[in-house]
Symmetry: none
Subunit: 417 residues, 2 copies
């Protein structure tokens, strides 16, 4: 079964609002094994909505329309669906009573314009409003189609849409015979490029008819996404698992996490498993490595704390580095990064000391180009390793990439140990 999402509202096209409803609806449909073929956004204009509905109806068995059901003159989904059907709007007294009762419950009088919301296309199936906007559904016959297309119109307010999904949409999916389920597994990969990862993974999945593969480059690494469809969620999971196992085995230590477990979550889990703790000393990242770890629930078991040694004087005052060392080697250097990792480990008694320095931009520092970064890890045995390179991107990207490089080094060493 194919579906499409039509989002009605000029605010989307003005760039004032991002269409997270389309994302949410798509994720819900995918869980039921329904394939979403398009998202389309359209302005508050009857002709444009009718044209959009017709185009989508020629490509999908189900069109979910979000928005345009409010009480104001620019809420035109009711009119547009009626026009696409060639039907009139009719007043539903049960809906009118429900809207009046809704306002009474809030202790507010119903404005006359809210009566607009009790009109739906003739013959529509309706759901009582959870806010003040009733949802409705119709069957639209399009030229050349073998069967009518179900059009379900829902309010654009997210919590109303979410509630109506279970009470109004799910029963219709059951009735339309939607039985499948789709599961997407995510393999997070750190420290390797997209094309390198793809060249390893693609041959492993090429023969799996049930599994589709996608790659997503994120600031923090590459996501390999394996999507499988089955009779139900368990069946879909079972079909995905062999491919996930092969990908994880082939990528080995480059796998930084599975599904919801991103890099920092994985690091917190690995440290907790080993009963070990980390402390950080951050220059260019300004505390964001510690903050990424602190965002993981129960980080307090493994993150002792850290130093933000942003200016040169902080490297001396907070980490106790010799000011001469910083002056001689440069604040962004292998030697200073090593000294910071060793110092923060010693000062906190943590098992691991993780340190970074770098040039985040906008301008170069000490003739080092933007993106020059170093990261160092002081280990429980007292040794310290340092890495350096030039990473691409603007200031936020450099900060994110450097943090990920440092966390990934810790992750790999935890796997070794």
């Amino acid at each position: 079964m194919n579906a499409a999402v039509l989002s009605v509202g000029s605010e989307l096209l003005l760039g004032d609002l991002t269409d997270s409803n389309a994302t949410w609806i798509s994720a819900r449909l995918r869980e039921r094994g329904v394939r979403v073929v398009h998202h389309l956004a359209v302005a508050d204009d009857v002709d444009a909505i009718v044209g959009s509905l017709r185009w989508l109806a020629a490509r999908a068995d189900l069109v979910v329309v979000g928005g345009g059901l409010g009480p104001t003159s620019d809420d035109l989904t009711r009119e547009a669906v009626a026009a696409a059907l060639g039907a009139d709007l009719e007043l539903r007294e049960d809906l009118e009573e429900a809207i009046v009762a809704r306002f009474a419950a809030l202790g507010r009088p119903m404005a006359p314009r809210n009566r607009r919301q009790a009109f739906v296309p003739q013959g529509a199936r309706t759901a009582p409003p959870v806010g003040t906007a009733p949802a409705f559904a119709v069957d639209l016959t399009v030229e050349g189609a073998q069967r009518p297309v179900r059009v379900i119109a829902l309010p654009g307010v997210p919590w109303e849409l979410h509630e109506l999904w279970s009470t109004f949409v799910v029963p219709q999916l059951d009735e339309l015979g939607v039985t499948g389920a789709t599961v997407t597994r995510i393999v997070h990969v750190a420290g390797r490029g997209e094309s390198d990862v793809a060249s390893v993974v693609e041959p492993l999945v090429a023969d799996e008819a049930d599994v589709t593969l996608a790659f997503l480059a994120k600031q923090h690494g590459i996501q390999v996404r394996l999507t499988a469809t089955g009779r139900d969620p368990d069946d879909a999971s079972a079909r995905a698992q062999p491919a996930v196992d092969r990908v994880v085995a082939a990528l080995g230590a480059s796998v930084s996490g599975l599904d919801d477990a991103d890099l920092e979550t994985t690091v917190v889990r690995l440290l907790a498993d080993r009963g070990q703790r980390v402390a950080t000393a951050e220059s260019a990242t300004g505390g964001s490595i510690a903050a990424r770890l602190a965002r993981v629930p129960r980080a307090s078991a493994v993150l002792v704390g850290g130093l933000v040694v942003y200016r040169d004087e902080a490297k001396s005052l907070l980490a106790g580095l010799d000011a001469d060392l910083v002056a001689r080697e440069g604040a962004v250097s292998e030697a200073v990064t090593r000294a910071l990792a060793l110092a923060v480990r010693a000062r906190t008694g943590a098992d691991w000391g993780l340190a970074v320095t770098g040039v985040a931009g906008p301008g170069p520092v000490d003739d080092l180009p933007v993106g020059t970064v170093f990261w160092a890890l002081a280990a429980p045995d007292g040794t310290c390793e340092v890495h350096g390179r030039v990473v691409p991107g603007d200031r936020p990207s450099v900060i994110a990439r450097l943090g990920s490089a440092a966390l990934d080094l810790l992750r790999r060493r935890l796997l070794d140990g």
Copy 2:
């Protein structure tokens, strides 16, 4: 002039990713007075992309395509645009050299598949890649249209897209004769609720026919958005300015920034104006306050550094607090927060010491409910003020709100001084 945005990528339709590129592109086009008539998302499928392009080209003078320019087999925008044109793909040696050079600069070999990215539809205008994905533009003639439709294909990686917008798209908009302009001014408001802000602002703008008003509630505060249209950017700005001035005057110290200047940018600017510096001592926020400041370009002039005193032992080892004080008062307490602010100011020699403690969740700590937070500011005169409350929300919200409360306290004190 009408435009449409076509976003290519199955991850959008699977509900894995929200299409914020379409929002960003629409806001940029609106600034130039271009009307966006549709956003359309399509899967990684040549036929579907071609069908989508044709449908949009019949409705717009400009189609901006985002995504599908990567090196993998599911990156199909090049092929689809060529198919829509009835043209072949051709290898551009200058692009191939630029991609090879890009990998060389990163110290990595170019994978053979990245050569795919040097192919563009015959006759296309191209832009050298800022990542590894070259952008290109073609003119597509559609049946019944009076003039060809400009199709501009950009990479989906946001920072690459943003950079190519100024260097590759804006010159084409100039050339296509786009002359109108819309300007949106943003007044950031901290520490007040949306309806309270609206009741102050709405009467101030009610008589301004040229200016439209919108309110947006964010985790870090309320945004008042004032949009004006004019002949060119200067004219539109001139129409917006009187309303902006009235709103800023009426909201007074609640205004935390204008336009791109969010709270942390404003704090960095205020500190720089006064030649003063700040240092942080963070427990619950784990370094994210320092990281927010460090994300602002030129933060190194005003952020000395800080301490992440996450576990109790870090409060003693790094900030020198008496372990008895922490045991007696509790790690999340007014007394400990005050001691941290004073300690980090003393240790770093900064003008201001900013400290926070709190219960971010998921569970309560020492019988304090999730959301219990304290923030303290040690001032240049040696005094220290502490504030506390219980904030709503989950772990990331508590961390964000506590950081904003602390930064807003510093901002207000800088305005006073």
